[in-house]
């Protein structure tokens, strides 16, 4: 078509400008396919740029802020390190559990030479409530209260108002004040572990220059009352200003309540520790985000590669003609690479700019699906934009390079041949390698499942994945042949000529079809994998809890999840207990402790009531002794021990604030309480005696079932704030709700890859239509209607998308099965494949191809039959 004209034109033009003209004319003549390729690049780059901006936002400025806020601190005294915390449940989500510094220790430092100032920091639970009594949510890890520290040793500086004095004044961080719309002088209610306080905001403070502590939302109390208000039994740390060395200070401060020497670190090390904590926490998030950016990029890159492979194949004669008239190999290579560069530069530049818009879209999307790990506005730096642009350009050039090399190696003689369709793809060697990789993958996968070992499992998944890539063209041929065979058997062959043409077309160039389908395979495989993962986690949690839950109502703290905090006001349980028709009530409190140096969550229940509210599944001993200070331990914990413990044995628990407690095992239980896996359960009076009173995490309520009782409880819960009322089933389901949030997030992230895959299918289809203009004209001439042409093209694209999604689905499910069997076998994860969801995913994948083909199909159906003759 147009290509022939271009090359003839260049024959008469001077060489260099001739090659440039060939390139530009080629780009223009093929603008529709390059628009789609550009769109694929653009989408990948926009998404990547958005992810880079998000990662910068999450982790970028925190370290600078931490350094700035802690700049005035020379030495820090903290408790002794006790061990690793369970699920980052330590203070501020830290990985290490430490003991506390005894109250008043800072006084021993005032006389020490070289110490100019030493201030003890007390912390405890404190969270501002809105006017409805609902705890404020600013998207941070923890909500704490702390004593206000002025001057160099303080992390915050007042931007408005004054420091708090007395028990009824607080200073809030700007973020909290903004969220609650509070100003200096306003009243505010604060939830603490001992109850709610009505106080006045006397000041607004900023952390470093950004305004807020990266991890915690802090409420500041007067130094004189903080320890009381926060029910603190020790200091979290002492910050020291001065030139004294660590050893001198260590000698002066003595030991923690457990008798361990206190830890003294330099301000610089302490600051670095805070930064490391933030980074280790955010690196998971950033890795996750960049993973999805990578997936989108791989999908985009496949499409660029595919486009150039097809473009070069279609232009074989033109390029050969150029070689015949004297263009060097390098000039041919250059002309293809210039095309790639033009697309790469344009699409990446627009993509990077579009990334900024994407960030705002994503943030609102995250909010809509209930994800709040991003507080504040995105930090848009030029380096994110430049990196997005550069990666896009490099990816475009890199994926065009192999096709360009192929173009350069076209022999001049090819100009004289009819262009040959490359149907060679499904070579025996290639298929053999693919089958070998798949079998190897399956074998390793089975080994991983049987042995419960993740190394063979991941190797198997990897091997099978490479097998799918290598075997793609073979799969295409087999797939279209078997679909054709199956349809031929069930339907009158003559009636399906349109479908048959489509199926034949899809397998016409198996390599091309396979690499087009690959982007979709990748997206669908990941979606299936995460869907199975989420369903399995959900099924495991809800079914266990659903079975064990005996109460008909559950009152739950507002923000639970991986790092939940108890928020139920202290007197709500007594209020509910007093309601007519409530037959039994048991509240759960939790705290952290260590056994054998490993952090764990310890809970307390009302022993006499728990039997009617939650079936702990006692397998040995009895709960009766809990009232006398015994502990119930779950079997899953005992299973992990080398020297087995039994009922009557003693288990040594270390509480960071309260020290060591030897608890006698009174019962062994089979069912873990939600959030306590494995469970360590005391009676409420015992745990209160050890760590002091706390807020309820969960209240289990059994009633006589009357509606009036339910209504009264509902009223009490909403009046108290800080809690949500669930029916038993709703509660079991809600335990999986953070999994739903997570799944929605993953779907949103992977949708980008799927959209790119769809653009790829559209692109391949457009190129196929361009390639077959005469053939389509011929079909029109002999009587194929426009509608039949459209249907043919749509069917052809559907063959690609069905293949892509089925392979992706099968691989995703298999990979998830292998991965979770290998990894989660001992944790009792039930592998659950949600069949209906899976069917929807397959259907959506298949339909996406039809949508992708809508435009090319329309274009094809408008081709005049005359094309066949020209």
């Amino acid at each position: 078509m147009t290509t022939a004209t271009t090359s003839t034109a260049s024959a008469t033009a001077p060489r260099t400008s001739g090659m440039t003209r060939v390139t530009t004319a080629g780009l223009w003549a093929n603008r529709s396919r390059f628009t789609l390729t550009g769109l694929a690049v653009l989408l990948s780059v926009a998404f990547l740029t958005a992810m880079l901006i998000l990662t910068t936002t999450i982790s970028g400025t925190a370290s600078d802020d931490i350094r700035e806020a802690n700049a005035g601190i020379d030495l820090v005294v903290t408790g002794a390190e006790l061990g690793e915390s369970a699920d980052s449940g330590g203070p501020r989500g830290a990985d290490i559990l430490s003991s506390v510094v005894p109250l008043g220790t800072e006084a021993s430092l005032t006389a020490v030479d070289g110490v100019d100032d030493a201030v003890g920091i007390v912390t405890g639970y404190a969270r501002a409530l809105d006017t409805d009594g609902i705890p404020v949510d600013t998207g941070v890890i923890t909500y704490t209260g702390q004593n206000w520290v002025d001057g160099e040793l303080g992390t915050h500086t007042l931007v408005d108002g004054t420091a708090p004095t007395g028990a009824d004044q607080v200073v809030l961080e700007a973020r909290t004040a903004d969220e609650l719309d509070l100003a200096v002088g306003d009243p505010v209610e604060i939830l603490t572990s001992t109850g709610t306080l009505d106080v006045e905001v006397t000041g607004i403070a900023d952390y470093a220059s950004s305004g807020s502590d990266p991890d915690a939302a802090i409420v500041f109390f007067d130094d004189a009352v903080a320890a009381d208000v926060l029910a603190a039994t020790g200091l979290e740390r002492i910050v020291v200003d001065g030139t004294a060395d660590a050893a001198t200070v260590a000698a002066a401060v003595g030991t923690d309540p457990l008798g361990n020497p206190l830890t003294v670190t330099t301000g610089a090390d302490y600051t670095q520790g805070l930064i490391d904590d933030v980074e280790s926490r955010t690196s998971f998030q950033t890795t996750f985000l960049l993973f999805f950016a990578g997936v989108a990029l791989v999908a985009g890159t496949t499409i660029i590669y595919n486009t150039f492979v097809i473009a070069v194949a279609q232009r074989t004669r033109e390029l050969a003609l150029l070689r015949t008239i004297g263009a060097s190999k390098r000039q041919v290579l250059g002309s293809v690479m210039i095309e790639a560069a033009v697309i790469g530069v344009l699409a990446s530049a627009v993509g990077a700019a579009f990334g900024v818009v994407t960030v705002f879209g994503l943030i609102s999307l995250f909010e809509a699906i209930g994800l709040s790990f991003l507080a504040g506005s995105p930090v848009i730096t030029s380096s994110s934009l430049i990196a997005g642009f550069a990666v896009g350009l490099v990816a475009t050039l890199a994926s065009a390079y192999a096709p360009a090399r192929k173009a350069a190696s076209i022999a001049p003689i090819a100009a004289l041949r009819d262009s040959v369709n490359d149907a060679s793809a499904a070579s025996i060697v290639r298929n053999g390698i693919a089958v070998a990789l798949l079998l190897c993958g399956i074998g390793l996968g089975i080994w991983g499942v049987v042995a419960g070992s993740w190394i063979p499992a991941t190797a198997g998944i990897g091997s099978a994945f490479v097998g799918i890539i290598v075997g793609g063209p073979g799969v295409t041929s087999i797939f279209s042949r078997s679909v054709d065979g199956a349809i031929g058997r069930f339907r009158d062959a003559d009636s399906t000529i349109v479908g048959r043409l489509a199926r034949m077309n899809a397998s016409r160039n198996p390599k091309r079809s396979a690499s087009t389908a690959f982007a979709l395979t990748l997206g669908v495989a990941l979606i299936s994998f995460f869907t199975v993962m989420a369903a399995s986690l959900g099924a495991s949690t809800s079914s266990d809890v659903g079975d064990a839950l005996a109460s008909d109502l559950v009152v739950e703290s507002l923000s639970t999840g991986p790092i939940g905090e108890a928020t139920i006001p202290g007197d709500l349980d007594t209020t509910i207990a007093g309601i007519d028709g409530v037959t039994s009530i048991s509240s759960l409190r939790v705290t952290t402790a260590l056994a054998d140096g490993a952090g764990l969550v310890v809970g307390s229940v009302d022993t006499d009531a728990v039997t009617t509210t939650y079936d702990l599944g006692v397998t040995d001993g009895s709960l009766a002794g809990l009232a006398d200070g015994q502990i119930a331990v779950s079997q899953t914990y005992l299973d992990t021990l080398e020297t087995p413990l039994a009922v009557g044995d003693t288990i040594e628990l270390t509480f960071p604030t309260a020290g060591i407690v030897d608890a006698e095992i009174g019962a062994i239980v089979a069912n873990d309480l939600p959030g306590l896996a494995p469970s360590f359960i005391f009676d409420t009076t015992t745990l209160d005696g050890i760590v002091g009173p706390g807020l309820d995490d969960t209240i289990y309520v059994t009633t006589n079932g009357s509606e009036a009782t339910f209504a009264a409880i509902e009223d009490a819960v909403s009046a108290a704030g800080g809690a949500t009322l669930f029916t038993a089933e709703a509660y079991a389901d809600s335990l999986g709700s953070f999994i739903d949030t997570f799944t929605n997030f993953v779907y949103a992230m992977l949708a980008v890859a799927v959209v790119i895959a769809v653009v790829g299918i559209a692109n391949t289809t457009v190129m196929a239509v361009n390639e077959r203009v005469r053939e389509i004209g011929m079909l029109r001439a002999v009587g194929m209607t426009s509608a039949q042409i459209r249907s043919m093209i749509r069917n052809e694209a559907a063959m690609l998308s069905v293949q892509g999604s089925l392979v992706g689905l099968a691989f995703g499910i298999a990979a998830a099965y292998v991965a979770f069997s290998a990894l989660g076998g001992d944790e009792g994860i039930i592998i659950s494949v949600p069949v209906v969801t899976m069917a929807w995913i397959a259907l959506a994948g298949a339909v996406s191809g039809v949508l992708a083909a809508a435009w090319p199909a329309w274009k094809a159906s408008r081709l005049p039959p005359l094309e066949a003759m020209s």
Binding site: L779, G783, P865
Partner: protein, 260 residues
């Protein structure tokens, strides 16, 4: 579709009467490409008819408008003015869909090249127009055409497994098996060597003589035109002459008169 009366003139074995209805015709047909300075009048007020059961050749120098004439008569393109009829149906009154159905059911095509769908076997190519209509070929017609063309052995082959001559035979078979009212060919032997070309032309001639098929063929080869019953000469978009019972030499001489 049903509005178009199927003029079943392909009754096997018998020739149609000499003055039967016209299978196709153009009336005051003009076709103008482009506009302004670049305007090309490819057909200039042409009126011509093609009698059923007759083999007509359209001759003329390159660029004279032969292909344009055929394409418009066959409903592959729209005239700028005037009318094209297949049987009694004015093609300009048909929607794109009806026009397509008309071509499918009543018109056969043999092009110079790219006649066949590479992904389909020879047999599937032959039955394609019928398959598009969810019909099966009349077994008698199918067998006769296949045997006359000698391609029975090749029915399972893909086009790329066939020689150029075999491909054109398959194309001829496709044009005939659907038993159309009229078959149009645009230089159907243009890409073949003279011996293979001659074979194809003989088949076309036999189809006209034995089953009364109507054929209109564009050619610039006097030798090819000699197989026809009648030759229509086109020059500068107009019909300039006509010749019945042509021979190669007479056509050649007439062509020389165009001075090209």
């Amino acid at each position: 579709m049903t509005a178009i009366a199927p003029t079943s003139i392909t009754a096997p074995g018998g020739r149609q009467p000499a003055n039967a209805d016209l299978a196709a015709r153009l009336v005051n047909a003009s076709k103008i490409y482009g506009s302004g300075d670049s305007e090309v009048r490819a057909l200039d007020d042409v009126t011509v008819g093609f009698r059923s059961g007759q083999f007509t050749a359209i001759m003329g120098p390159s660029g004279s408008g032969k292909s344009t004439l055929m394409q418009n008569a066959a409903g592959l393109d729209q005239l700028t003015s005037g009318s094209a009829y297949i049987g009694d149906t004015d093609l300009s009154t048909l929607s794109d869909r009806d026009l397509t159905l008309m071509r499918r059911a009543h018109i056969g095509f043999i092009f110079q090249s790219f006649n066949l769908i590479p992904t389909l076997s020879a047999e599937e190519n032959i039955t394609l127009p019928l398959a598009l209509d969810k019909r099966r070929p009349n077994p008698e017609t199918f067998d006769r055409v296949i045997d006359v063309l000698g391609i029975r052995e090749r029915l399972d082959h893909r086009p790329n497994e066939l020689s150029g001559g075999q491909q054109q035979r398959v194309a001829v078979a496709r044009a005939l098996v659907a038993e159309p009212s009229i078959v149009f060919g645009d230089e159907p032997t243009g890409n073949l060597d003279s011996r293979t070309g001659a074979e194809i032309l003989e088949f076309m001639q036999r189809a006209v003589q034995e089953i009364g098929q109507t054929i209109v063929m564009v050619t610039h080869d006097p030798g090819a035109a000699a197989y026809a019953d009648r030759v229509v000469f086109v020059n500068d978009g107009q019909i300039v002459d006509e010749m019945l019972e042509p021979t190669r030499d007479r056509v050649f001489d007439r062509m020389k008169a165009f001075g090209r």
